[in-house]
């Protein structure tokens, strides 16, 4: 293979190194497997390196890298590998987690019920919840929850209009709340919190 004509390996490594953890977390969302996530990050890093000459210096390297990573995950090979572990969601009402938390009597003391429920869940539960979203919503939400990211940056990464990001994010967050609640119920987290709540009363 020819060396990247303009970009040196050193420059590329310095740019990608601080982004490996976020890249891995994003890849984990996209593949739902730690092993497949590592493969995807390596593949994306190589693709980015080979195309480094097309990266415009001074523009957003992270957005460029994440776009390559997302596109790499779209390959048919990985689509076949990804098997949904939960039933896709159809719809969810507004304030799903809020209303269900209050109905379950989890609004005790000074604790925010959201902190109470989500604080009791594992990282794997969160990954599972994002995985349950329909593909379009899953991608937008994965990028959104990775870190505080402006709608415009998500739009740049996914190459979709910012209005589409907004609408997918709004609906995706509602669906995510329903999924989080269902997972918390299935894993007896809500039952345990209700018991604790009863004991306090």
């Amino acid at each position: 293979m020819a060396k990247s004509p303009e970009g040196s390996a050193q420059e590329f490594s310095a740019l990608i190194d601080p982004l490996l953890t976020k890249s891995y977390a994003l890849a984990y969302h996209l593949t739902s497997s730690r092993e497949a996530a590592e493969d995807l990050v390596q593949e994306a890093a190589l693709l980015a390196f080979r195309n480094f000459s097309s990266f415009q210096r001074g523009t957003n390297f992270k957005a460029w890298l994440f776009r390559i990573l997302v596109n790499a995950s779209h390959s048919q090979h990985r689509k076949n590998l990804r098997e949904p572990k939960v039933t896709p969601l159809e719809d969810a009402e507004d304030l799903y987690l809020y209303n269900h938390s209050l109905e379950a009597g989890l609004d005790r003391g000074s604790s925010n019920p959201a902190e109470l429920v989500l604080g009791s869940m594992d990282v794997e539960h969160i990954i599972q919840a994002i995985e349950s979203l329909p593909d379009d919503y899953r991608l937008v939400c994965a990028l959104y929850f990775l870190e505080e990211t402006a709608y415009q940056e998500i739009a740049d990464i996914l190459e979709i209009p910012v209005g589409t990001v907004r609408s997918r994010l709004h609906r995706g967050r509602k669906l995510l709340q329903k999924s989080l609640w269902n997972i918390a119920v299935d894993n007896n987290i809500i039952a345990a919190l209700k018991d604790e709540s009863e004991a306090v009363k």
Partner: protein, 83 residues
């Protein structure tokens, strides 16, 4: 409705996501803040929704890049450079 309460609950609710994400313009931010300051119910919903986002992000930030991945990527890049 008080003079300060320039948005209704419904109008505020419709802007809550954009407010949490700092995607509103200055005028909208002021109006939402004014409403949240006088409406306990909306303020409670806002605090809850904002906490959901913070909590999900906090969980996701616990995902660490495996130590071996960094070496693996660097080795692959070195190999690609010399091939």
């Amino acid at each position: 409705m008080s003079q300060l309460d320039r948005y209704t609950c419904e109008e505020t609710f419709n802007l809550l996501n954009d407010y949490v994400d700092r995607e509103l313009n200055e005028d909208q931010i002021i109006k939402v803040r004014e409403h949240l300051a006088v409406c306990e119910e909306c303020a409670g919903e806002f605090a809850f929704e904002a906490q959901v986002i913070l909590s999900v992000r906090a969980k996701i930030s616990q995902i660490n890049c495996p130590v071996t991945l960094r070496d693996r990527v660097l080795q692959a890049l070195l190999k690609a450079q010399t091939d």
